[in-house]
């Protein structure tokens, strides 16, 4: 079978197996790996596709390889399936399905890892040595206990994720065992159990690497999760969570910096080491696919440099540019021109804007901000920065690749800029800088792909002329016309409604604790569950060929049904092993975002 470039530039680390992760890892950010394996709590912050999962997975693999010496147990926990828990309505506050599932999920991953790391020969060797020394063979009772827990936990997780459970009351009826119920009862009992486990297995410490920690959780789940994260703090338990800049809701009990230090994945197109990092990633993967492809990309260094600069430190973006070149059959030509690369960058960026629009469906809470953010970038920031540079060029002054945003503006409409940063259209440097007139601001850099696709910069060499100096950069303040309008129009208010289902009173005034009509308690209206929104989406969103989509439509009415279906249920004529897996994965990825 012919090799496919797609297999070598897969988007998500989740799609790579352990040996590929080891092979594809480039030794950049080694210092961050050390941090991920130390005893401190951290938030690993970086935009989508920048390599957070890769770092966490490689840290876990390195820790596994060293387990025999260090006795440090590192466990990577992905919460991709958390979205399923949203279907269970919490009506009894003593049992929270999300927390039950989160703790159960962590516990099962920890127990499975302990079992996996046990060398197969250990029991045999113990029996042989016990025979020699005249001891009884001791497969400890605690080990048996943990094996038993793993089995019943796995069943419980299955039921939580897929069972027909409408509300939290049912949970107590399906609880796995009194022992486990006690462990999963609350974060403190869970932590106590983890410490017991650390003692039983004589572990130096347990490191929990939480991936997808914020993005896949609903807004309220995020707050619960980070409160739980804080509770786990202990000298022998170290939690690390991968988060996106800005949009994560840590809640009122969690303090960034205090409860977990921040580790940022940063990247600068003017830093040669950062450019080399992306180049090395592409080199490894593309050379494994086809040496000729790599030669064509590098025969003129401007080509590979342009791709690396435009990636904005995001390997996924670089893969998309190369993929687009392949789709345009550029590799079949003798040479690749810089214009072809820019065209591909433009096409990738257009696609990213399309994806950004669909984000409204995923991040329901940010719907308005997403709409506003796209307009602000396309009709204000991009044209204004282009014009600014045009003027700057006439006077041979420095050029601009971003803008300063006054902290007042950010505080008022942070969501607008956070969604842009989440999607890598901009990167925000959260260190405050004086922007004159007694004001402070953040420097926001525009993704280099946009800089070149929208002709803010005209050629690669111009990046050397870019300056972040306040005099060489535009600023946006509360007094800037476009921003002032935005702040006025974008007032996001919560809606409160009466908890009495027979009463229809609603208000935006949060001071109402009780309903003025019927005196029942007021409650915050929860937006429709993201789980329900995504489930109901049409199968066409999975972007398969028309033929395949139509075949699937004969059997399934929406993405949710494919997401729930077992592999054998998806199987049908023309849809066998390879395609079945592809379809199932596409549904999982879609639900996870």
């Amino acid at each position: 079978m012919n090799k496919s470039l797609g297999d070598y530039i897969v988007d998500r680390t989740e799609s790579l197996d352990d040996s590929f992760i080891t092979d594809y890892f480039i030794g950049h950010n080694k210092d961050l790996i050390i941090r991920l394996l130390d005893s401190e709590q951290y938030l690993l912050e970086g935009s989508r596709g920048i390599g957070k999962t890769m770092l966490m997975r490689i840290a876990e693999l390195q820790s596994d390889a060293n387990f025999g010496k260090s006795s440090i147990l590192s466990v990577w926990v992905s919460f991709e399936e958390s979205i399923r828990i949203e279907r269970i309505k919490v009506i009894d506050s003593t049992v929270d399905p999300f927390l039950q599932w989160t703790m159960g999920k962590i516990l099962i991953e920890v127990l499975s890892k302990i079992i996996d790391l046990k060398p197969t020969c250990v029991d045999e060797l113990s029996a042989r040595l016990a025979n020699i020394f005249g001891n009884a063979v001791d497969v400890s009772t605690s080990q048996k206990k943990y094996q038993h827990y793993t089995k019943i936990l796995s069943e419980y997780i299955q039921v939580l994720e897929k069972g027909d459970i409408g509300d939290s009351k049912i949970l107590s009826k399906i609880a796995p065992s009194p022992d486990l119920t006690k462990i999963l009862d609350n974060p403190t009992s869970f932590k106590k159990f983890l410490i017991e486990l650390i003692k039983d297995f004589e572990l130096e410490r347990v490191i929990l690497l939480f991936d997808e920690a914020a993005h896949v959780f609903s807004y309220t789940q995020q707050e619960k999760f980070f409160t739980f994260f804080k509770t786990l703090r202990h000298p022998r338990i170290a939690c690390k969570a991968a988060v996106y800049p800005g949009i994560t809701n840590y809640g009122k009990y969690f303090e960034k910096g205090q409860d977990a230090k921040e580790l940022r994945l940063t990247w600068d197109f003017n830093n040669t080491q950062d450019i080399k990092y992306i180049k090395d990633i592409l080199k490894k993967r593309i050379q494994s696919f086809d040496l000729e492809y790599w030669n064509k990309l590098t025969i003129n260094t401007a080509i590979i440099d342009a791709i690396c600069v435009c990636s904005n430190g995001n390997p996924r973006l670089a893969f998309h540019i190369v993929d687009n070149l392949e789709n345009e059959k550029v590799f079949k030509q003798k040479n690749i021109s810089l214009q072809q690369v820019i065209n591909s960058v433009r096409s990738v960026i257009e696609n990213k804007w399309r994806e950004f629009s669909t984000l409204k469906n995923r991040l329901a809470k940010y719907k308005t901000s997403i709409e506003v953010a796209e307009d602000l970038m396309k009709y204000t920031i991009i044209p204004k920065t282009r014009e600014w540079n045009n003027k700057q060029r006439t006077t041979a002054k420095s050029l601009s690749a971003g803008f300063y945003l006054s902290t007042n503006v950010y505080d008022n409409i942070s969501q607008v800029f956070d969604v842009l940063a989440y999607s890598s259209f901009v990167s925000i440097d959260y260190s405050k800088k004086s922007v004159g007139k007694g004001l402070y601001g953040y420097y926001v850099s525009i993704n280099p792909s946009i800089l070149f696709a929208d002709l803010i910069l005209r050629e690669l060499g111009e990046i050397k002329l870019v300056s972040k100096n306040i005099r060489a950069t535009q600023g946006y303040y509360t007094t800037t016309t476009e921003i002032k309008q935005l702040i006025d129009n974008l007032k996001i208010e919560n809606e409160y409604r009466c908890s009495n289902t027979n009463c229809n009173y609603t208000t935006n005034d949060e001071t109402f604790t009780y309903c003025p009509k019927c005196a029942n308690k007021m409650e915050l209206t929860e937006p429709e569950s993201l789980y329900k929104i995504l489930r109901s989406h049409d199968i066409e969103n999975l972007k398969f060929s028309n033929k395949l989509t139509n075949r699937l439509k004969d059997k399934f009415s929406n993405i949710g049904e494919i997401y729930d279906a077992d592999i054998d249920v998806i199987r049908m004529k023309y849809i066998q092993d390879v395609r079945v897996e592809k379809i199932k994965n596409a549904a999982i990825e879609y639900m996870a975002g």
Binding site: N66, G68, P119, C121, V122, E124, R128, L129
Partner: protein, 232 residues
């Protein structure tokens, strides 16, 4: 009732056993025992398999396994040279077991007459061509395709035996206390010991795999591969 130790017992406990316990702890903390224990288990399985084939030769393997544990305990207690000396004994007894398996009359005489134990590894190789290519060829005709070079197995045996003998006879560079008489955990010496340990176990696994054409156990196979003298 509180247990009271005699002066001598207390001295032995406090001044010898406890410091050695500390060396054990440091050795354990600073090293990964996964490979050592995985191959120890494979080596013990070799002993059991040989005992199944010939219970009389199994007598020697009881000694070999006991020596292996003694060697490991010495090394993790900081007695590195003693541990290496025991490895020489393991190599010698191990080779004897394979030799006597194919020479039952000699073994019976050795036992019956309590003959001198003079079948040193060097003697076996020099006088009996023990595990030289032509020797192996008698039970494994395809050896020439598998060995890394002619006489690769017997050469490895001789070289290994020579190195271990240097420790036994106290060749200067093999002495461990020339800098002073202090017993403590020493990473460099433990690693040097570990290398010898795996080397001895590996070459004996090679003899087993070749002689009995048994590659059914993955760990035995992997142990035999470590010495890189034959392709398995």
């Amino acid at each position: 009732m509180t247990r009271v130790l005699s002066y001598t017992k207390a001295t032995f406990n406090e001044q010898i056993l406890k410091p050695i316990n500390l060396i054990h702890k440091e050795t354990l903390d600073d090293n990964d025992f996964t490979e050592i224990l995985t191959y120890l288990n494979a080596f013990m399985l070799i002993g059991e398999n040989i005992t199944c084939k010939n219970a009389r030769i199994g007598e020697l393997w009881n000694e070999i396994i006991s020596d292996t544990l003694a060697s490991l305990c010495s090394a993790s207690s900081g007695f590195y040279r003693s541990a290496i000396i025991v490895l020489r004994s393991i190599l010698e007894l191990g080779c004897n077991s394979f030799f006597y398996y194919d020479h039952p009359i000699e073994y019976q005489m050795f036992k019956q007459e309590n003959l001198k134990a003079d079948k040193y590894v060097s003697t076996l190789v020099n006088d009996y061509s023990f595990f030289a290519t032509k020797y192996i060829k008698t039970f494994l005709p395809e050896i020439e395709d598998k060995q890394s070079s002619i006489n690769s197995v017997s050469d490895f045996l001789k070289k290994n035996y020579g190195e271990l003998s240097d420790s036994l006879h106290g060749r200067y560079n093999n002495l461990t206390k020339t800098d002073g008489l202090q017993l403590k955990y020493d990473k460099v010496w433990f690693k040097r010991y570990e290398k010898h340990f795996l080397s001895v176990l590996s070459i004996l696994a090679v003899l087993y795999v070749l002689r009995f054409k048994d590659t059914s156990d993955a760990n035995i196979k992997s142990l035999a591969k470590k010495s890189k003298v034959v392709s398995i």
